[in-house]
Structures are given as structure tokens and as C-alpha cells.
């Protein structure tokens, strides 16, 4: 074979081998496409598409007059994509204008853009206000990206904190209405389908599906901001003056069950829940159980009257103020001798009430307590409510019935107690308490209205009518004279429960309470005030009743029907010695004190006048009643810069 032929022959061999390569590649490609197309294409879609959530705006929480208690704030993050065409041309003026707008030097923004990590994205500033957002949008600079961040704003600070609750970082409710109505408030987040690359960077692309978010619904409450502020103000004062550890107060419309105001001391700032202790965040009105003491005498009185075992005028022998039941001695605060059953209630005689209740059989007494809602939750639309404890008759000891008659061996929540007294006020009906009156959509259209619910009739109308006069007498000349309000008839009951301290009931640790309603003959408001461990005097009549009186006085003017019923002259029974006769306008300290007084709850005119008289020119936001102040009460009295927030 010639060399040339050998070379050519070997070349043909090599050529044949190489020619097989594209064949193998074609087979491989065909195999991929024929056998794996579906699974691989799914993987392509899965890795290249991504869905980005567009947050929905949370619904607002409004008081009964539509004032925003909890609203949303939109804050904007400013980013730029410096690669967008036209950005560089305007960059210079843009940075200058931005510097002026935000009060940061323009060179800092330039540096941020120059030193960016990602080529097409650099975040320049967070937390821009809507006003700044609008201004920047008007500049119309290409490549500028403004993304909203929704925040929750509690417009009146700590006001109604325990009702409203608060939200967590993710914008979801953690307490109060924010938690209970989270689904309603949250709305439906939207989403946008975006493209994603291998480093996880996301970009929107033309034709990608966008589902717009739906804003959450608003809640319209039964609460009134002005009354709430007044109640909080007075409760705070009551706690301070009595030296109590804590206090809680709830007011309810007895005819509907709608909660008019609910306050707790200590309270917390819902925009900074983390700074407050768990105790401060607790809504004691529904989460705390306590032995009610004399306020629970309502149950025994109702049962005894309705069962015809006693009438209000019947005499009850209370003797020297003590009696022995099954080896245990029961004492009155002072000896009353033989008094009418009405006075047993008015003077809060333990002996008289215990003796009367022993005439009832156990089952009947238990049934009345149960029917009045004790031991079951009230089903209020706030989270965290507890039921309380009411022993069943088989568990009763020999002394249980007499103890329960005066409010021991039973534990209740403040809200349960108020609901029971509301039944006395409305003629015997246990109402379900509620806070949310309406649900409204973003346009203000009512979507749902809460219909007042009656859970059951606890006792007869006539019983209520009969008993009411006895509870009026409590205020007129009994233990509750401190709850008297000029020109307004009030019915109520004091309560002083010894607290268990170190295994024994201690007279130093009490829970002082007053629960009542006004006007007594056509009740508009049922109000309960509980003070925990007051040091200024253990009795409900001494420390809780004055809070009730001051609240009633400040509230009376806000109810037209109550105003119409107010008698022009002070009631004849007003005992000047025990009643603090100062009008609310006199609660401000005279002269120039060292510290800021509590101005909340006052009319703005009063507050401003008081400050001006002391050469302080306050800044005022809003009109009507002061609901928030800065500095806080007790802070050093400043000479300048006092900020008052008011609402009508």
C-alpha cells in the first residue's frame, strides 16, 4: 500500500469515528425531549417563577363616632435602579432635591449608589412619609422605586389599649380586637408573579399576573373615645389617690350589652407592647377572677325576694354584728341591730344577708347564681376571657352557702359582675357584652351589624323593680354615699373582699369595688370600678365609689336622656362631709405646681386656660376633650412645648 493510500485509509477510519459523534448527540437530545420534557419543563417553571405577596392594608378600628383609634400608616422605602435609562441624566438634581427633602446630604446618597452591592437596586431610605412619597413621585425620575410598608398607628396612645390590643411585627393581631378580629381586619393580600434568576433576584415582567390586594374591613366600636378618656383618667386618679396596685373599670349599656368604655391601670402603649410587663398588658376586666365580696349579695337578695322568702320591709335580726354559722363566726363592720332587709343591702350587713340566704335551699341559690351568668364566660367579643368559679352544690361544705351569700367561695370576673348588675338595671335580662358594633368596608358601607343578644332572663321584671330601690338606698344612705352625683339618681353596691394573702384572708389586702348604674330609674350606664389592694382605705365605698361618682358626673352630660333627667338642684341627701363636691373643673391644682397635672378628659378650653394662666402656650391638635398630653402627668412642668391631642 502506498503511503498516500495508507494515509487516506486511516483518515477514512478517523472520519467514520468522528461522524458518529453528532449521531450520539442527536440521540441524546431526542431522548431528553421525548422522555423527560414534562418533568423538566415543570422544574423550569418552578425555578424561574415566583410569587410575591402584595400586602393588604389592615382595616381601621373606629370608636362609635367613627374616630380612628387604630389606623394604618403607609411608610415608603425609596430605592433606585441606577441602570434605568434616563436616571443618570437626572441623578445630580435628584440627589440634591432628595437631600433637601430628607435633611441628609446629597453626597451620602451618591455614595450609597456608588457603593451598592446589587447592580440594579440600591435602597436609599426607609420610612418616608406619604407627603415625601408624593413629592418624590412628582419629580418623575426614571428608575426610582417606592414601595409601601404598612404600619399600625394607635392615634390616641394608650387610650383603650386593652380593648384595641396590638399587632406583632408581621402586622397580625396579638391581643384585643386586633387578635379577635384579625381575619376581618387583615383583608386579602394580593400577589404578583415575578421572574427569578439563579441568585434569587426577582424582577417583575411584562404580562405577569397581578392580583390586587383587598383592604381589610373597618370595625366600628360601641366605645366612645371621650368617655373612654374620662374613665381612664378617673380610674388612674382613683388608683393613685387610693394607693392601689391596680384598677379596672368597665361601663356597659345595660339595655344592649354594648361596652361603653373599658379601662385598666396599669396600662400600656400598644405601639410599643414589648416595653410593658405582661401584667400591664392584661385586660383584667375579663381575665382576672376575684372573690367579689358584698357586690355578690345581689344574688342572694334576688333569690330571696323572687322566692318570696323575704320582702324589703321585713325585719332582719343582725344583733351585735356577729353570728356563728357551723362553727365559723361572721362579722359585720359595725352592729346594726334589727333592720329591714332593704337596709341589710344598703348597710351591707353580712350577718343579715347570710341569715336570709340560709332560708333558700342550695339548689335554688346555685341556680340563681348560675342564671346570672357566674361561672360561664360572658362571650364578649374580646380574647382571653375566663369563666370564673362557682362550686356545684355537691361540692359545697356546710359554710359554702353563707360564704357565697357575702361573695366568698366564688370567683368572678369584673365583666360577669357588671353583666349581672346590668340585668338588675334592665329588668332581669343577661345580655351578651360586645365591643364591635359594626363592620364596614373601605367605602364606609356597613357590612354587618351586631344585634344585641339576650342570653337569658335571670329573674323577673318585678323582682328587678323591687330590688332597685334597695340598691338606690345603698347610695342614698348606705355604704355607697360616696357615689352620689348631684341631680342624678344612682343605684349600686359597694364591695370589699379580703384577699387571700399567705393562705389567710388579710384585711390589709383587699379588692375594693363599686358597681352601679344611672340614672337609677331608666339606666343608661352600668359601671363597675375595682381597685386592687388600695392602701388609702380598704372599703369599696371609700375608694371605688368616688371613682364611680366622678365618672358618672363627667359622663352625664354626654347622654341627652340623662341630661334631661338631671334635677336642677343638688339632691337633698348629698352629704357634704363625705361627698367631694368639687366640680370636675376644680380638679386642676391651683397656683403653679412643679409637675404636669393630668389634663386628659378636660375640655381643651379648660386645659388651655389653665396652662396659659401659668404662662405655658400649648400646642393643640384636634378639638373637644383632651385625650393625650405631653409631657405625661407627673413630669416636671415645662415652660414651653406642651402638646395636647384632643378629640370630640
Amino acid at each position: 500500500m502506498k503511503p498516500k493510500d495508507q494515509i487516506l485509509a486511516r483518515m477514512y477510519v478517523a472520519l467514520t469515528l468522528l461522524g458518529l459523534a453528532p449521531l450520539a448527540i442527536a440521540v441524546q437530545m431526542g431522548q431528553i425531549v421525548l422522555t423527560e420534557t414534562d418533568t423538566l419543563r415543570d422544574q423550569v417553571r418552578a425555578q424561574a417563577r415566583s410569587s410575591v405577596t402584595i400586602p393588604a392594608m389592615r382595616g381601621a378600628i373606629l370608636d362609635r363616632n367613627g374616630r380612628g383609634l387604630a389606623t394604618n400608616t403607609a411608610r415608603y422605602d425609596l430605592s433606585v435602579d441606577p441602570t434605568v435609562e434616563g436616571f443618570q441624566k437626572q441623578a445630580g438634581t435628584f440627589f440634591d432635591k432628595l437631600g433637601t427633602l430628607t435633611g441628609v446630604s446629597a453626597s451620602r446618597y451618591r455614595r450609597q449608589v456608588r457603593n451598592r452591592h446589587s447592580p440594579q437596586y440600591v435602597k436609599l431610605r426607609e420610612e418616608l412619609t406619604p407627603g415625601q412619597h408624593e413629592t418624590i413621585q412628582e419629580w418623575d425620575v426614571p428608575g426610582v422605586i417606592l414601595t409601601p410598608e404598612f404600619g399600625r398607628r394607635y392615634n390616641y396612645g394608650t387610650t383603650a389599649a386593652h380593648v384595641i390590643g396590638h399587632v406583632g411585627d408581621g402586622g397580625h393581631g396579638l391581643a384585643g380586637l386586633e387578635l379577635a378580629y384579625d381575619d376581618t381586619l387583615t383583608g386579602t393580600p394580593g400577589r404578583r408573579i415575578v421572574r427569578r434568576d439563579r441568585s434569587g433576584r426577582i424582577e417583575a415582567y411584562v404580562g405577569g399576573t397581578v392580583v390586587q390586594p383587598e383592604r381589610g374591613d373597618d370595625l366600628l366600636l360601641t366605645l366612645d373615645l371621650t368617655r373612654q378618656a374620662a374613665l381612664e383618667n378617673e380610674l388612674r386618679r382613683g388608683v393613685r389617690e387610693s394607693g392601689a396596685e391596680w384598677g379596672t373599670a368597665v361601663a356597659m349599656d345595660p339595655s344592649t350589652g354594648g361596652i361603653l368604655a373599658l379601662a385598666n391601670v396599669p396600662t400600656y402603649d400598644p405601639s410599643r407592647p414589648g416595653r410593658a410587663s405582661a401584667a400591664a398588658r392584661r385586660n383584667r376586666a375579663l381575665t382576672d377572677r376575684f372573690e367579689p365580696g358584698s357586690t355578690f349579695k345581689l344574688v342572694g337578695a334576688t333569690a330571696a325576694i323572687e322566692q318570696d322568702l323575704v320582702s324589703l320591709d321585713d325585719s332582719v335580726e343582725t344583733g351585735d354584728g356577729w353570728a356563728v354559722f357551723h362553727g365559723y363566726t361572721m362579722k359585720d363592720v359595725q352592729a346594726h341591730g334589727t333592720i329591714s332587709f332593704a337596709d341589710v343591702i344598703a348597710k351591707s350587713s353580712n350577718v343579715g344577708m347570710a341569715k336570709t340566704v340560709t332560708k333558700l335551699d342550695r339548689g335554688t341559690f346555685y341556680q340563681y347564681a348560675r342564671n346570672m351568668g357566674f361561672s360561664q364566660p360572658t362571650w364578649v367579643d374580646l380574647p382571653g376571657e375566663v369563666g370564673g368559679v362557682l362550686k356545684r352544690t355537691p361540692q359545697w361544705s356546710a359554710t359554702t352557702q353563707t360564704s357565697m351569700a357575702i361573695g366568698y367561695e366564688v370567683s368572678v370576673t369584673p365583666l360577669q359582675l357588671l353583666t349581672a348588675y346590668s340585668a338588675l338595671a334592665n329588668g332581669g335580662l343577661i345580655k351578651r357584652p360586645y365591643v364591635v358594633a359594626e363592620r364596614r368596608d373601605v367605602t364606609g358601607k356597613t357590612l354587618w351589624k351586631n344585634e344585641p343578644e339576650t342570653i337569658r332572663r335571670a329573674f323577673r321584671q318585678e323582682t328587678a323593680d323591687t330590688l332597685r330601690s334597695a340598691f338606690k338606698r345603698v347610695v342614698e344612705r348606705g355604704t355607697g354615699t360616696n357615689a352620689q352625683v348631684e341631680g342624678l339618681r344612682v343605684a349600686g353596691k359597694t364591695g370589699t373582699a379580703l384577699q387571700v394573702a399567705e393562705g389567710e384572708y388579710s384585711a390589709d389586702e383587699t379588692r375594693a369595688s363599686f358597681v352601679g348604674f344611672f340614672p337609677a330609674d331608666a339606666p343608661e350606664v352600668a359601671l363597675l370600678v375595682v381597685l386592687g389592694s388600695p392602701t388609702g382605705g380598704p372599703h369599696g365605698g371609700e375608694v371605688a365609689a368616688p371613682v364611680f361618682r366622678r365618672v358618672a358626673r363627667r359622663w352625664a352630660g354626654t347622654f341627652p336622656t340623662v341630661v334631661a333627667r338631671t334635677t336642677p338642684e343638688p339632691s337633698s341627701v348629698s352629704a357634704a362631709s363625705s361627698v367631694d363636691a368639687r366640680s370636675p373643673t376644680d380638679t386642676l391644682p391651683p397656683g403653679r405646681p412643679d409637675v404636669m397635672p393630668d389634663l386628659t378628659g378636660l375640655s381643651t378650653r379648660r386645659a388651655v386656660t389653665w396652662l396659659r394662666e401659668r404662662d405655658i402656650e400649648p400646642q393643640l391638635q384636634g378639638m373637644g376633650t383632651v385625650v393625650q398630653q405631653r409631657p405625661r402627668p407627673g413630669a416636671a412642668l415645662p415652660t414651653t412645648r406642651v402638646l395636647l391631642t384632643a378629640a370630640e
Binding site: 487516506l8 453528532p22 442527536a26 423550569v44 424561574a48 447592580p119 434568576d197
Partner: protein, 389 residues
């Protein structure tokens, strides 16, 4: 008569270059420009402030230089070039050493040499020079071609030196070069026994490099699906970001493209494949133009192979032309086939550019020069050339 003969001789000498090869190269370059433009979008996004157009223009300039070099070289007689092949090879080897030394001082293995701000890979120059010089050696030693000491050993020294230097940090290029030289030696009548020895040598070299580089070894293991070498972290390499990731992403590109493709510029996988404009341009073409588009591209290389061997090599006026044509053609075409094999998952993942299609300056230039040589050989072809030997 003699005047006419001499004129005819001149005309034969300067006969037009092979049109098929020219058209195929132009077509490959055109496809490359379009595909690269689509594939660089991600790169442009990642590098701040650059538009894809910027990379397109760079690529166009490089293609222009490569095609210009091809045209220029096609005008220079390959026998003239052959005279300088030894000098060129020595120069290329020195450059390779220089790169190594510079790399040592600047800290970090580098395949690049910076000359006046232009990155340049000496390995590509060495590639061309070695093919040339091996062809020259083989032709020179045709009379005693089966001799081990007189033919095989000198060839082996040069090949070993070049492949070894390149293989230090670019194993795939070294192996491709070795394959090309082996094919040339085979065609150049070197004893099969000796070539077998060279294969063993290549295998040993490859194993040695693989054993010292766990990363490479793991890549091969990932491909084979078995544990071959000690001290490799195959699991890690087979993870989402490893070699398995690359071949899986490439398979996804083929599947996404299907038979007819998703359309020009609509590739999604370019965002996920590493260096889609270079190592995986075939996968991007398959995604955008489908299996049909990919087959047309392969057909281009196939035609180039047969045109280069069956027409240009066979009709070459002398053994040097023949061997050179075979060497150059097989080297260019096997690059294309191996690139496609890697992209389609037939071969283990390695970063080889597709000639005239991929984005990459030096390799474009080297391929341009090689095809230029091929074209020049085709100019000397004649019906009588077969008898001239």
C-alpha cells in the same frame, strides 16, 4: 505556450478558497452573534451598568478580528507558515511558562496574559502552533515514520511539553489537543502501538491531574455516578450548585426548547446556566431554536468535517497540506462536538467553547487562524494534485 502554462500555474496556485467552508464559518458566526446576544443578558445584569449591547459589540469586534485573521491567513502559503511553526511553538511555550510565573507572583493560577490591556490565552496560540509543528515533523519523518526513537520520541517531547503545560490548569483543552494530535499521528501513519502508548500516557497524566485536583475528580465522579478517587467531596459537588446542577439545568434547557424552541431571545435557562454565552451556548441555542436548530448547527460542523477531510485534505498538493488539513479540521470540529456532548449531558461537564459560536476572544482567533490555514490549503488543490505526491 509556456506563458499560458505559467499563467495557468499562477491561477491554480491562487485558486479560490473552498466556498463551503467559508459559508459554514460565516453561518456559525452569525448564529453565535445572535445566541450570544441573548445569553449575555444575565451577565450584563450582574455586572453593574452594562447593557447587553456592550457585550454584543465586543463579540462582534472579536468575530470581525477572527474572520479577518482567517481571510488574511488564507492568503499566506501554508508552507511558508510551516517554516515558522517551530519558532511559534517555542514562543507559545515560553508564554505559557511566563503566565505561570506571573501567576505565581500575583497569587492565583491564571490562563490569561495581559498585553496592552487585552486578555490573551497563550494556550490557544500553543494549540495552533503544536498542530502545525506536529504536521511538519510527521511529514519530515515519513520515511522512517514507524521508528520510535526517530519519529515518535521527538513528536512526543513537543506534545508532552505543550499538553503538560496547558494541562496544569486547563485539563479539557489539553485533552482535546492530545486527541487532535493523536488523530493526526494516526492519519500520519505513526505506529498504532506507539499511539496506544501515548493514550496510556495521556490517561496517566489525566489521572495524575485528577488526583491532585479533588474538584475535577469530583466532577468526573458526578458524571459517572461512582466514587473513583479518594478524598473527593462528591456529595457536595453533586449538590444543587455543583456539576449535577449544571447538567440538570442544561437538560432543562433542552426540554424547554422541545423540537422547535421557545423563540429567539426568550431563553429562561440563561439565567440559571453558568456561563451560558460560553460553555453552554449549545444548550441556549437548543432552548431557543429547539432540537431542529441544534441539529442544523451540528450539521454545519458535520459538513465542515467532511469538506475539510474528504475534499481539502484529500486534494491537498502535498502530505503537509493533507496532514495539516486533517489536524485543523478535526480539532475545530471535535471542539464543536464535545461542546455539544457536554451541553446535552453525554460527556462530563467541562468548559469548552463552541468554535465560532461561543463568546471568547482568543479561542475565536485561534479557530479563525486554523480555518484560514485550511482555506489556504484548499487554494492549492487541483485535479492533478493527487499525483504530485
Amino acid at each position: 505556450m509556456s506563458v499560458i502554462q505559467s499563467l495557468r500555474h499562477k491561477v491554480t496556485d491562487r485558486a479560490p478558497a473552498d466556498k463551503y467552508v467559508v459559508w459554514i464559518v460565516l453561518a456559525l458566526s452569525a448564529v453565535g452573534v445572535v445566541a450570544v446576544y441573548s445569553a449575555v443578558t444575565y451577565l450584563a445584569e450582574v455586572r453593574a451598568g452594562t447593557e447587553p449591547v456592550h457585550f454584543l459589540l465586543r463579540h462582534l469586534v472579536r468575530v470581525g478580528i477572527a474572520l479577518g485573521a482567517m481571510g488574511g491567513v488564507s492568503l499566506i502559503d501554508y508552507r511558508t507558515l510551516a517554516r515558522y511553526s517551530r519558532v511559534a511553538l517555542v514562543g507559545a511555550l515560553l508564554l505559557l511558562v511566563a503566565v505561570k510565573v506571573v501567576g505565581l507572583f500575583s497569587g492565583g493560577a491564571d490562563r490569561w496574559l495581559q498585553i496592552a490591556g487585552i486578555g490573551f490565552q497563550p494556550s490557544e496560540l500553543a494549540r495552533v502552533a503544536l498542530i502545525f509543528y506536529v504536521a511538519v515533523l510527521l511529514v519530515k519523518k515519513q520515511d522512517y515514520v514507524k521508528s520510535f526513537s526517530r519519529t515518535f520520541l521527538p513528536v512526543l517531547v513537543w506534545v508532552g511539553l505543550t499538553v503538560g503545560l496547558i494541562g496544569l490548569d486547563d485539563l479539557s483543552t489539553a485533552l482535546m489537543l492530545l486527541l487532535g494530535v493523536l488523530l493526526m499521528s494516526f492519519v500520519g501513519r505513526v505506529s498504532l502501538l506507539q499511539i496506544g502508548g501515548l493514550v496510556v500516557l495521556g490517561g496517566a497524566l489525566a489521572f495524575g491531574v485528577l488526583s491532585t485536583s479533588p474538584d475535577r475528580a469530583a466532577r468526573l465522579e458526578a458524571y459517572l455516578g461512582m466514587n473513583l478517587f479518594p478524598n473527593t467531596d462528591t456529595e457536595q459537588v453533586m449538590s444543587a450548585r455543583g456539576e449535577q446542577y449544571q447538567s440538570r439545568q442544561a437538560r432543562m434547557a433542552f426540554a424547554a426548547g422541545g423540537l422547535t424552541g421557545v423563540g429567539p431571545g426568550k431563553s429562561v435557562q440563561r439565567d440559571f446556566l453558568p456561563e451560558p454565552y460560553n460553555d453552554f451556548i449549545f444548550a441556549i441555542i437548543a432552548e431557543e431554536y429547539g432540537i431542529f436548530g441544534a441539529l442544523v448547527l451540528l450539521a454545519g460542523f458535520f459538513v465542515l468535517l467532511f469538506r475539510g477531510c474528504l475534499r481539502i485534505a484529500r486534494d491537498a498538493p502535498d502530505p503537509l497540506g493533507l496532514l495539516l488539513a486533517v489536524g485543523v479540521t478535526t480539532l475545530v470540529v471535535t471542539y464543536g462536538f464535545v461542546h455539544a456532548g457536554v451541553a446535552s449531558g453525554l460527556l462530563p461537564v467541562t468548559g469548552l467553547p463552541m468554535p465560532f459560536v461561543s463568546y471568547g476572544g482568543t479561542s475565536l482567533l485561534a479557530n479563525g487562524i486554523m480555518i484560514g490555514v485550511l482555506l489556504n490549503i484548499s487554494r492549492h488543490a487541483g485535479p492533478s494534485s493527487a499525483e504530485r505526491i
